[in-house]
Amino acid sequence: MTAAAVAPGPRGVPAGRRPVICGLGMTDLGKVYGPSAAQFAADAVRLAAADAGLALADIDGLLVSSGVSHGVHLDLQLDLGLHDLAMLSEMQAYGSTAGAMVQVASMAVQSGMAGTVACVWADAPLQQGTSSAAAYGAGARIQSGWRGLTAAAGITSANHRYAMAARRHMERFGTTSDQLGAIAVAQRDWAGLNPLAQLRTPITIEDYHASRWIAEPFHLLDCCLVSNGGIAVIVTTADRAAGLRQPPVYVRGWAQAHPGNSGRRFDDFGLVSGAATAGPAALRMADAELADIDVVEVYDCYTYTVLVTLEDYGFCAKGEGGPFAASGVLGPDGKLKVNTGGGQLSAYYMWGMTPLSEAVIQARGQAGERQVRDHELVLVSGNGGCLDHHATLVLATSP
């Protein structure tokens, strides 16, 4: 097998066995206090089953995952009263987990290992009266070991690591703050059309620059929200989906990339992400070209993450993500429909479920005021760690 060989994708199996996302369940998201992550997860699966027109008992596979509160485990099966599952596992690839779960579920239904697989992610990091920073553990407690050494030196947050990635991109390619800000402004414009979004008030580039510094070059408005809640999707076969309630969303192509950065001289940290290999691989599996893509839902823990991912997917040349983002191409009136719900910057922070959920809504044509007219092919990214883990999905309205 050569490096160029691609695993036979869904188009290599009989039409009836091709994987379809048939259900989407979203709990209340944001500053929602009370439920544990496990309770959010169970609610999300129940909502997804109802959305699909399935009974819980129809589910025979379950993939679970959680964020920083680590509250969703294999006993979710029992919480949901699911018996005799053909597949059950907890998955963790950070922000790429949602995409990875859909990939594993797709392979399971394609192979016949399972027939109807629920994939759920939930988290409850926010507690009433505490800050988002506290929720994500930027405390000053004594730590041990190698990570403790880094923290003792002051590197306590993903904000710091991504800020250094963004700074490196700026120094190498001339990317500017105005260009990062253009992404924040464009996504807020989309969020204004999304009733699910936590932040819907329009912002200007002046508001962006006036927002407080977090870790230069990042202002507050470069950084994602922190949210409580849970989201689930259900993957089944095209045959099974045909009799269900929702328009089928085909999982047409997928890939992952885990660069395993060397952390030494010649490391391209901050300059290139896993999207550079996973994007083209997923498109090949989907038998699609980048130019065919109608809607792009990109993992956006920071504005910078959107910029580097769009570059790596090839929507512009490497290094030109800044001028591209600031060219007016983004936002509801732009030519490229990116993060149409406002993303993690403005809508809700459900890790990889944020881009995935909006992708399903758009592909179904159920996005209301923010619906993109052409929505046959949707490209979805997930990104975990600090550009360490990547998953791409190509979703489609036809097989």
């Binding site: 004594i142 730590q143 403790g148 050494l149 250094m164 977090i214 070059p217 952390g263 030494r264």
Partner: protein, 135 residues
């Protein structure tokens, strides 16, 4: 306070013995002679697990950085901390604080020297970087 406290564990004990003596120890491969990052459990070049320790020369260059802004304290003052990735002359990167730089001088390739700071007399010595011209 420049750095915070950190407690040693089995993996970091020898490295922290080194920092206490003013050395930044790298892993040295007894099979191929390559130098790997201190936390490596196998040689980054040949994958051998036969490693001993070798002090770094102490020279580095700046790869990237961020100026981290704290939350305002009671008086409204905000603490700024410069954090960076330094590439040691031997090749490995180390993520730490850049102490007392002139922010206007921060640039890719800025020459740095390894230094050490403690959060208190009884605390472990934490590797940091200082601009080479201040060394």
């Amino acid at each position: 306070m420049t750095v915070g406290p950190v407690s040693r564990d089995a993996a970091t004990a020898e490295f922290l013995d080194g920092t206490a003596a003013g050395h930044f120890l790298l892993r040295h491969c007894t099979a191929c002679d390559a130098l790997s990052t201190p936390q490596a459990a196998q040689c980054e070049r040949c994958c051998s697990t036969a490693l001993d320790w070798r002090p770094a020369a102490g020279d580095a260059i700046l790869v990237s950085w961020t100026v981290a802004h704290g939350r305002p304290d009671a008086s409204g003052a905000v603490q700024h901390t410069v954090l960076g990735i330094a590439e040691l002359a031997e090749g490995p990167w180390w993520w730490s604080q850049i102490v007392d730089p002139d922010p206007a001088l921060l640039r890719v390739g800025l020459p740095l020297r390894i230094s050490f700071r403690r959060s208190g007399n009884q605390q472990e010595a934490v590797p940091v970087f200082i601009p080479a011209k201040n060394a």
